[in-house]
């Protein structure tokens, strides 16, 4: 842990994350014309936290309670057989479901795009949204699939050897996005 820390530097600090989420919340309101039929679905663990924070902001700005939930994608991953089976995250759909609504998927880091592809598959099994959009706190590039985000907190040019780690108050005790150089191995 400690030698990794030495190699890491914070790209976004607490206030930066706060501002980015505030902007994304406004963009969602703007792009969806008031977020009337929006459902926010976070990808566990941190995407789910971010989705809740976005919902809080939207409520703050427009007094609108946007349904918020989470969708676990573990069972839909395309790399399941490359690693040991892993524990599942939580899927919690809003009571009214996603049919006919605009689903905004929320994830912390957008990288290869494979997680988002899995999320689209998972979404397909729980209902038929009218449209699906994607919000991500960090877009670090290196896409392997034709997927792009509609709302981006920060575009972060990275090399493939680097790692991006998102820490959030609710799960990790602090807000920060770290860029970690992985040469010390």
């Amino acid at each position: 842990m400690s030698d990794v820390q030495n190699q890491a530097h914070a790209v976004l600090e607490g206030p930066d994350i706060h501002r980015a989420l505030t902007r994304i919340a406004h963009e969602i309101l703007e792009r969806t014309k008031g977020a009337e039929s929006v459902v926010l679905l976070g990808i566990p663990t941190r995407g789910a936290t971010l989705a809740r924070r976005l919902a809080e902001r939207i409520a703050q700005f427009e007094g609108l309670k946007v349904p918020v939930g989470s969708i676990d994608i573990t069972m839909y991953r395309d790399d399941l057989r490359l690693r040991p089976a892993r524990p599942l995250g939580r899927t919690e759909l809003p009571p009214d479901g996603v049919d006919g609504r605009t689903v905004v998927l929320v994830d912390d880091v957008l990288f290869s795009g494979r997680t988002v592809r899995a999320a689209l598959d998972a979404l397909n099994d729980v209902g038929r949204p009218r449209a699906v959009q994607l919000a991500t706190l960090v877009d670090r590039g290196h896409r392997e699939l034709p997927i792009r985000a509609d709302y981006v907190g920060k575009n972060l040019p990275t090399s493939k050897a680097e790692k991006v780690k998102v820490y959030l108050e609710e799960t990790d005790g602090r807000d920060a996005v770290l860029l970690i150089k992985e040469e010390a191995r």
Binding site: M75, L80, L82, A85
Partner: protein, 310 residues
């Protein structure tokens, strides 16, 4: 390669991972599309040498919900009746590319032997009077769902312990998970080595009932009895059956379980079996979920996430 042969080889962490995974998978059975793509292209063989309704169907449903291909094999009507050995049958299945073999066999230890012959995962679906680990897992899962916890839970397992693989698996698993098990049976229906099991033993059902949070009734396995273990069915039922009067002595939150199939009127009265505090039907539904969790954790990744080595 890893298998699920005995509930005793599951660590506390393994067992909790299975129960937590099942908890998440339970949500899948509430959706309109009750299927996940996770085990696409994997083959699960149900190898059943003994009759079974719920276990076989439950494993089949679990594998299918995870998109695995399922091959059902029952000894009746197969080459087993021509004298084929378990090993040759196993090698045949292996050659057909089975990733997992779910086996039920009348001989205790058959899954253990099988595990040394095949490369795939072996899941014990009941071997003789030895073990039935997925039943114990689904029982623990059902208890946790109803009562919210397992730690410190007082569980009475009542009846034909001698012939019961369910009792042994439950004692081992519940002990691992921190519950206190008391076996209640006539002395003739307790195995010789029962004092080495991590549980209490009693001959007096009426004394145990008021202290129990869970009462698990076992089926009297007449088909395995080659001698008389009790004077008459009537007498057994009077001393060890769960009827209305005994049921009334349980505390208000206590639940009644039965692994099925039941002999109504023998170990459990129809009235008790159908009461809202009986989890018997629930246990069947939970069985599918728990078996999905087991199959996912054994086959879902590059290597199994649970279980002991055989």
């Amino acid at each position: 390669m890893r298998h699920l042969i005995s509930a005793g080889e599951l660590s506390r962490d393994d067992a909790l991972v299975i129960l937590d995974t099942a908890e998440e998978l339970a949500r899948v059975s509430d959706r309109s599309i009750k299927k996940l793509p996770t085990l696409r292209g994997r083959t699960v063989v149900n190898l059943f040498y003994e009759d079974s309704t719920r276990t076989r169907i439950s494993f089949e449903a679990a594998a299918k919900r995870l998109s695995a291909d399922v091959i059902n094999f029952s000894a009746k009507g197969s080459s087993v009746s021509k004298g084929e050995s378990l090993k040759d049958t196993a090698l045949t299945l292996e050659a057909m590319g089975a990733d997992a073999v779910v086996i039920r066999h009348g001989a205790s230890g058959a899954p253990h032997r099988l595990a040394t012959w095949v490369h795939g995962s072996v899941v014990n679906a009941g071997d003789g009077t030895h073990e039935h680990p997925t039943q114990a897992l689904l029982d623990a899962y059902s208890m946790r769902r109803r009562l919210g916890r397992l730690e410190g839970l007082k569980v009475a397992v009542v009846g034909d312990v001698l012939h019961s693989r369910v009792a042994r698996s439950n004692v081992l698993l519940l002990h691992t998970l921190g519950a206190e098990v008391t076996l209640v049976a006539p002395p003739t229906l307790l195995p010789v080595s029962v004092e080495t099991w991590p549980c209490q033993v009693s001959y007096d059902l009426d004394a145990v009932l008021p202290k129990s949070d869970v009462v698990m009734m076992l089926r009297v396995q007449l088909e395995r009895m080659n001698a008389s273990y009790f004077p008459s069915a009537r007498e057994y039922s009077r001393r060890y059956g769960l009827d209305r009067d005994r049921f009334a002595r349980l505390h208000d939150e206590a639940i009644v379980m039965h692994p099925g199939p039941m002999n109504r009127g023998m170990e459990i009265s129809a009235e008790v079996a159908d009461s809202p505090r009986s989890t018997i039907v629930e246990q069947v539904g939970n069985g599918v979920t728990v078996r999905m969790a087991v199959l996912y954790l054994l086959l879902g990744g590059s290597e199994p996430a649970i279980g002991g080595t055989a």
